[in-house]
């Protein structure tokens, strides 16, 4: 490690880092949690705000009308106005409510939507923690949302909330099975649960032909299934019967107002992004995308060696500090070295690719919502258990066989 650090100093990139390299070992760790977590929450909140505006604008265009266009130029400040409105509302709790469940529900739902962002990469090196079990982490913590929904159904003590909560929990839980099967297809083909490695596996073909959907018909089918299961899991139309409930009443979040409602609202948009980003990473090649990335210069090899050394020092697995150091170095490097600039460009193009795909899928989600009617709950369950589940099993089996026969 010492000779790596020495080379690092000699290259000039270490000019900024003497202080960092002499601090106690736990400090970057703590900083990583604070700064990284803060960046992730900020990104999630801003993105939720931006996409509420986007959804309403897009909905307006689909419906032959203007969307929000009063608050700010082109209505850009509309989400800000909505946020202020929600924050200024009175916090009402029904008298029959169970306080602990009522309060805990939005928190759990928010956690379930926010935690996957910890492992969700935006580019090869721009990720909070590059877990070896990243994919498993995402799926596991998405399930926390279900507990939150159940609490939201029972907590307010209202019949309508109970109905909505039960239906929604059934729907979300059921659709995690086909989602898991689709993910299994990619795991078989890529051979790893690490999201970075999955994308790296998809960079093997010429241009975009390395993407998972072009590598196996099972992955092609699994992509569409994953997307549909994701629509159902995030309770988006056409699967929004428990939530929108304009047919009955507003379902599980009837009794929530103000900031509590804002939590539900934001977590829905965040969860949508997680599904879209996951679909992009697993099936559409992540940041390895239509826009080709600039070639890394020769001393990138040194940079990768430094990266590996840090990984080795941290013992593999959770490498929070390492990721943050790399992230910071990349950022700092932009100002000071051609290597840093190239790597930054490399990463930024990766981010652009990633956003192109994730936001493209996000747009399709919105498009679908404003076009299709709602599916009835029994038809939703039928679709899951009698259509998607068998197809998912077939796809997973196909992928397993393909990996054995064509390694």
């Amino acid at each position: 490690m010492n000779d790596v650090i020495q080379t690092f100093h000699e290259s000039g990139a270490g000019a900024l880092f003497p202080p960092l390299l002499h601090v106690p070992s736990w400090l970057p760790f703590v900083l990583a949690y604070l700064v990284g977590g803060g960046i992730i929450v900020a990104f999630m909140a801003i993105m939720a705000l931006v996409w509420t505006y986007g959804e309403r604008r897009i909905a307006g265009f689909i419906q032959v009308r203007l969307g929000p266009n009063r608050v700010g130029p082109l209505g850009i400040l509309q989400p800000l106005a909505d946020a202020i409105k929600l924050l200024a509302k009175e916090d009402i709790m029904p008298s029959a409510a169970n306080w602990s469940l009522f309060t805990a529900a939005p928190i759990l739902v928010f956690l379930g939507a926010m935690l996957p962002f910890a492992v969700l990469p935006f580019s090869e090196r721009i990720v909070l923690t590059n877990m070896q079990l990243g994919l498993y982490f995402v799926l596991a913590f998405q399930a926390i949302e279900v507990i939150g929904i159940l609490m939201a159904g029972w907590g307010p003590g209202s019949k309508w909330s109970l109905y909505g909560g039960m239906r929604l929990a059934a729907q979300m839980l059921s659709y995690e099975i086909p989602m898991g099967l689709c993910v299994l297809v990619v795991i078989f083909l890529a051979g790893s649960l690490n999201l970075g490695e999955i994308v790296a596996w998809q960079s093997q073909g010429p241009w975009i032909l390395g993407w998972a959907i072009f590598r196996s018909p099972a992955a092609f089918v699994a992509f569409f299934m994953f997307y549909i299961a994701g629509l159902a899991g995030t309770k988006r139309a056409p699967f929004d019967l428990p939530e929108a409930e304009s047919e009955l009443v507003a379902g599980y979040h009837t009794e929530y107002s103000g900031l509590r409602f804002a939590f539900f609202f934001m977590s829905e948009y965040a969860a949508m992004y997680v599904v879209c980003a996951l679909a992009a990473i697993l099936f559409l090649g992540g940041w390895h995308g239509p826009i080709p990335r600039p070639a890394l210069p020769e001393n990138a090899a040194f940079f990768n060696a430094w990266l590996d050394a840090i990984h080795a020092q941290a013992g593999g697995g959770l490498s929070v500090a390492a990721s943050l150091e790399v992230f910071a170095a990349t950022l700092a490097g932009t100002a000071f070295s051609r290597l840093g600039l190239t790597i930054a460009a490399y990463e930024i193009v990766g981010v652009i690719n990633m956003f192109l795909k994730a936001f493209g899928l996000y747009f399709v989600m919105i498009w679908v919502r404003w076009t299709l009617p709602r599916i009835r709950i029994d038809q939703v369950m039928y679709l899951c258990l009698k259509v998607l589940l068998p197809i998912g099993l077939v796809c997973a089996t196909w992928a397993a066989i393909q990996v054995v026969v064509f390694p």
Partner: protein, 381 residues
């Protein structure tokens, strides 16, 4: 909430059957309708519709007004079909009074009534889609409905309530500008109608929500007194405009769509919806024929503001967008009616709710009520 009261509350929650209240304020009940629904889990066992929230004492008021003054009240019964509502009343009064209506007035009545039918069906189409979660067709339908409302505004001064058919004729004559607007609308309507079908009618999700749901067999439809698209959706090919033509409908050639179970069973929600869709196109045909053959002449027969009708009673039914609207007028020799009874189609169609909503899912109740297409102004009068 304390632990004791929580426990009491939990014990009191009988989970076998819930009595749920839908309305009277509710996005999907098409007005102030209250449905008490007895559910066993997701299945609906019985429903009790409660009406009367919009009762405005129309029949009592009509007894204290001269005949001509009753017409604006008839407008407000089915406020989406205001060109159609006064027709049966005018026809009943004209029958009792022996008044002859000029041909031009009849043709104008027909043109406006059919345009209103299209507007009403467009709204039924849009709100039905809205009930089922498709938010967009509502706005598409309103785009065309806006054209019709502008035409109505030009000819009568009002966008929703017109006071246009009068006893003895109509209120105002048609101008070439309005005729041109109507023709432009017909072109546009014929262009977008296939789009509606692609967007909603043939959409698999919509079909799955409406086909085989709320099936009303033919005999049940007749026994419960259903009329209009609800009756025709169940396979009964009866239309008052064909069976007992009024206002000159015998001069026009048009088809009467009947439900055939194209997507499921005859008499399901999809059939009733489809009958309305096809009726829109048939109405376009009638408007075109009426416009082409509009005779010259006066557009009203002067009957005076106040006139006495000899003793007698008459019931005249007309084909409203929602069914058979009829007025039973009892005259006693004075200038005011002894009794005016309105047979409102929505009231009569709504009575089938309990019989149909048995052992269906909660979401189907909304689909069924939407397919019956009620307007509470007419139900309650």
């Amino acid at each position: 909430m304390t632990h004791e009261t929580t426990r009491e509350y939990a014990d009191s929650l009988r989970t076998e059957e819930l009595l749920i209240n839908m309305g009277p304020q509710h996005p999907s009940t098409h007005g102030v309708l209250r449905l008490i629904v007895q559910t066993d889990g997701e299945m609906v066992r019985r429903t009790w519709p409660q009406i009367g929230f919009l009762h405005r004492c129309f029949e009592k008021i009509a007894e204290s007004l001269d005949y001509a003054k009753v017409i604006p009240y008839t407008d407000r019964m089915d406020y989406l079909g205001s060109m159609n509502n006064p027709l049966p009343f005018c026809l009943a009064v004209e029958k009792l009074g022996g008044f002859a209506v000029p041909d031009r007035a009849s043709y104008l009545r027909v043109i406006m009534a059919e345009l209103n039918r299209i507007a009403s069906h467009l709204l039924a189409f849009g709100t039905y889609a809205l009930d089922l979660g498709a938010f967009t067709p509502f706005l598409y339908g309103f785009r065309e409905r806006e054209m019709i409302l502008s035409i109505f505004e030009k000819i009568s001064g009002g966008r929703l309530l017109y006071h246009y058919p009068r006893i003895g004729g109509v209120a105002r004559d048609m101008t070439p500008e309005i005729a041109a607007d109507i023709r432009a609308f017909l072109v546009q309507m014929r262009k977008v109608w296939p789009e509606y079908n692609t967007l909603l009618s043939k959409n698999q999700i919509f079909v799955k929500r409406t086909a085989n749901v709320g099936v009303i067999p033919r005999e049940q439809a007749i026994a419960y007194g259903l009329t209009g698209p609800c009756l025709r959706g169940s396979g009964v090919a009866f239309d008052l405009r064909k069976a007992h033509p009024y206002c000159g409908y015998e001069h026009f050639s048009f088809d009467v769509p009947v439900g055939e179970g194209a997507m499921g069973t005859t008499g399901d929600c999809w059939d009733r919806y489809w009958v309305r869709m096809v009726e829109m196109m048939e109405s376009c045909k009638i408007v075109e024929q009426a416009l082409d053959g509009l005779p010259e002449g006066p557009f009203f027969e002067k009957v005076g503001r106040s006139f006495d009708l000899p003793e007698g009673e008459a019931y005249v039914p007309c084909e409203n967008p929602r069914g058979e609207l009829g007025f039973y007028v009892v005259a006693d020799g004075s200038s005011k009616a002894l009794r005016v009874k309105s047979r409102a189609p929505s009231f009569c169609n709504l009575c089938i709710t309990d019989a149909v909503c048995r052992d269906v899912l909660l979401a189907d109740v909304v689909a069924i009520i939407g397919s019956i297409d009620i307007v509470l102004g007419e139900v309650d009068r």
